[in-house]
Amino acid sequence: MSIATPVFSAPIAPVLGRIPGNKAIWVGIYCELTEFALMFLVYFVARAHHPDAFRGGPQQLSTLAGVTNTVIMLTSSYFVARGVMAMRRNARATCLKWLTAALFTGIGYPVVKFFEVQWNVAQGLSGNGEVFQMAYYYLTFNHLVHVCWGLLGLIWVMFRTWMGAYDATDHDGLEAFACYWHATDLIWLMIFPLFYVLP
C-alpha cells in the first residue's frame, strides 16, 4: 500500500537552467560582484607596487575579529539556506525560526566590526595610514555596507514570511534574498584571506 505524499511536502528538485530567486536580484548581484572585482583589482595592483606593506599587513589586524566575522557570515548563510529548505517543505514556522537565527547571528557582524575598528584605532591603524590600511578600510567598509543592506533585506523577508506571503511553490522573494546573502558571504570569503591571513 502506498501512502500519497502531499505535493507541498515534496522537496522541489532543482530545474536545470533556472534562475534562482528572480532576474532582478541577479542584476544586483552582478553589480555587487563587479563593484568588488574593481576593488580587488585595486588591491592586486597595490600589492604589486607595495609587496612588503601587504606581507606585513595581516600582523597589524586582529585575526580573532576576522575569524569571528567569517564564522558569523558562514553561519548566518547556513541558517538562511536552512530557512529556504524549510519553506520548500512548506514549514513556514520552521523557516521563520531559521531566519530569526540568521538575523541574530548576522547582527554580530557589525558589532564585531565596531569593536574591531576601536581596536584598530587604539593600535594606530587609520584610513589615512599606509597603503595596506587604506585598502583594508576601503574593501571591508564597502562589504560592511552590503552586510547592513542584507540585514535589512533579511528583516523584510522575515516579515513577509510571518505574513504568510511565501509557500512551498512560491517563495522567489525569499530565495532572491538568500542568493544576495550567500553572494555577500562569498565576497567575504575572498576578502578574509587577502587581509587577515596571507603573509
Partner: protein
Amino acid sequence: MHNERSLTLAWLLLLGLTLVGAVLGNAGSPGLWVTVTVAAMMAFKGRVVIDHFLELGGAHPSIRRLVRFYAVALPVMLILTDLFGPQIAWLTTL
C-alpha cells in the same frame, strides 16, 4: 533530508577550513607555496558556497559560469600578483 545533511557538512567544512587557514597564515612566512595554498583554499571554499549555499549546480549557465569563474579568477590573480609583481607594477605605473 539528504540536502540538509550535505548543507550542514558543507558549513562545518567551511568553518574548519577557516580555522586551518587562519592558523596557516599566522604560522607561515611569505612565500609562493603559502600564497598557492591560501589561493587554493579561497577557490575551494568559494566553490562549496556556490554549490551548496547558492545551489547554482542546476542554475542558468550564464549565472553558474560567471559566479564559478569569479571564485577561481580572484585566487588565480593572487598567485599571478605574487609571481609577476614587478611586471604588474611596471605595467600599472603612470
